[in-house]
């Protein structure tokens, strides 16, 4: 379900392109929140998420983004752009942090993120919510995308499929596996990656906040 009215978005976009400042401001205010939250959950850095939002709207006003209304709604398009920016950013970070960047596959071994480039910021005051966010951060990006878009933004399978450029079956399987993985992380089923990968290599920064058992999640319940 789109968070904004697609017809109104189109009208605002047209007005914006004719130089209407108010239209651009309204368009920004309608879309910045979901885009920022998506980017924030995806990359885990408030500054990087703000930069992503800024880049998206700069590209929009510079007309470097080619939005085709016949192929979907503006909101989905902007999520797709954000995802592309985030993927590029992630790839760039992986070049510096790890040499073993895996392609966008659904291998079980790829369900956990290899590394997070940079120390994890504490973003939320609520301890429980922050723990869920940190656990989410440890899931592989292409699983995380689907989970965030479905659970946090209430988008449909079809919309997610368009945004991530995958088919519906892949959306379903990724969502299912991402949920299972997140649940496992919250219960503490998965050992911190620094313990698994400590073969003479420096521990990834994900271990700055090792996975811990969250209240309400116990191993007994899982077994």
């Amino acid at each position: 379900m789109p968070l904004t009215d697609p017809i109104q978005d189109l009208a605002l976009l047209t007005e914006m392109r004719s130089g209407n400042t108010a239209a651009f401001a309204q368009l920004y205010r309608q879309h910045q929140g979901p885009l920022y939250r998506f980017a924030l959950l995806r990359c885990g850095s408030a500054a990087a998420a703000a930069d992503i939002v800024q880049e998206i709207f700069l590209a929009l006003l510079n007309n470097t983004l080619k939005f085709d209304p016949s192929r979907g709604v503006l909101q989905g398009f902007l999520f797709g752009v954000a995802r592309n920016f985030l993927s590029k950013q992630h790839e760039a970070n992986c070049r510096y942090v790890s040499n073993s960047h895996a392609p966008d596959t659904d291998d079980a071994s790829d369900e956990l993120a290899d590394t997070v480039a940079g120390p994890l910021e504490r973003l939320l005051v609520n301890e429980a919510a922050e723990n869920v966010r940190v656990a989410l951060q440890q899931i592989s990006p292409h699983f995380r995308d689907v989970l965030i878009l479905y659970e946090m933004h209430d988008l449909s399978y079809l919309e997610i499929a368009q945004i991530c450029d995958i088919d519906l079956g892949t959306v379903r399987s990724r969502l299912s596996r991402a949920r299972a993985r997140l649940l496992g992380l919250l219960k503490g089923d998965f050992a911190p990656k620094c313990e698994r990968n400590a073969e003479g290599q420096p521990p990834p920064v994900t271990c700055a906040r090792p996975t811990e058992q969250i209240s309400g999640f116990t191993r007994e319940a899982h077994s």
């Binding site: 130089g19 400042t21 651009f24 401001a25 920004y28 205010r29 910045q32 929140g33 885009l35 920022y36 939250r37 924030l40 959950l41 408030a46 998420a49 703000a50 939002v53 800024q54 709207f57 700069l58 006003l61 510079n62 973003l123 939320l124 005051v125 609520n126 429980a128 919510a129 922050e130 869920v132 966010r133 989410l136 659970e151 946090m152 949920r179 997140l182 649940l183 919250l186 969250i214 309400g216 999640f217 116990t218 191993r219 007994e220 319940a221 899982h222």
Partner: protein, 184 residues
């Protein structure tokens, strides 16, 4: 596992949904920092200023579809504006108000009363374009000091300069006077 921990009663998915709900609630309040909007608005103003004037200045050959009127509008608009100004000035000079002033001499009150009885013409205080563009003009009664009439070329008798004149003023929505006429 420690036995002191509370048993997990709900199904695992329900617990996960609760956890995600908690995260969703916390995230709902998060928005892009304000300075990003400020930067983008500045960028938008820059882009608009650099693109739109160029578009308006761009020379183009008018097509048949554009019609001859657009060409006239582009090339003869200044001439039309000057002609309209001259016509307006002429009309004001030949209007009953100015004739009354000429006839009666320096007695402004009688002249204005005569003009008001005759046609009650308005004196434009702003350009005609500005008056025509005003979407919601209002007509209000106002007492105007005679001294302020000098600015509009109305002769003033020094003996009664301290008095005021009853007028009706056409004002814009923001209170700006657009036109004025004298009421006897």
């Amino acid at each position: 596992m420690s036995d002191t921990k509370p048993p997990f009663i709900s199904p695992p998915d329900a617990a996960l949904d609760r956890a995600l709900d908690t995260l969703r609630r916390e995230f709902e309040a998060l928005n892009t920092p304000r300075h990003i909007e400020t930067r983008l608005m500045t960028a938008f103003a820059t882009v608009t200023a650099s693109t739109h004037p160029l578009q308006s200045k761009k020379l183009r050959i008018p097509s048949r579809r554009d019609g001859f009127s657009r060409l006239l509008g582009q090339w003869f608009a200044p001439g039309v504006a000057i002609s309209a100004s001259v016509a307006m000035a002429s009309w004001m000079m030949l209007s009953p108000l100015s004739q009354a002033i000429d006839d009666v001499g320096t007695d402004t009150t009688e002249a204005l009363a005569y003009a008001s009885d005759a046609v009650n013409p308005f004196i434009a205080l702003q350009s005609l374009e500005r008056i025509a563009m005003e979407p919601t003009p209002r007509l209000i009664a106002a007492n105007v000091p005679r001294t302020s009439l000098a600015a509009y070329g109305v002769p003033i008798n020094p003996e009664i300069a301290g008095q005021s004149v009853r007028t009706e003023m056409l004002v814009a929505a923001n209170g700006q006077p657009l036109a004025m006429r004298f009421v006897p």
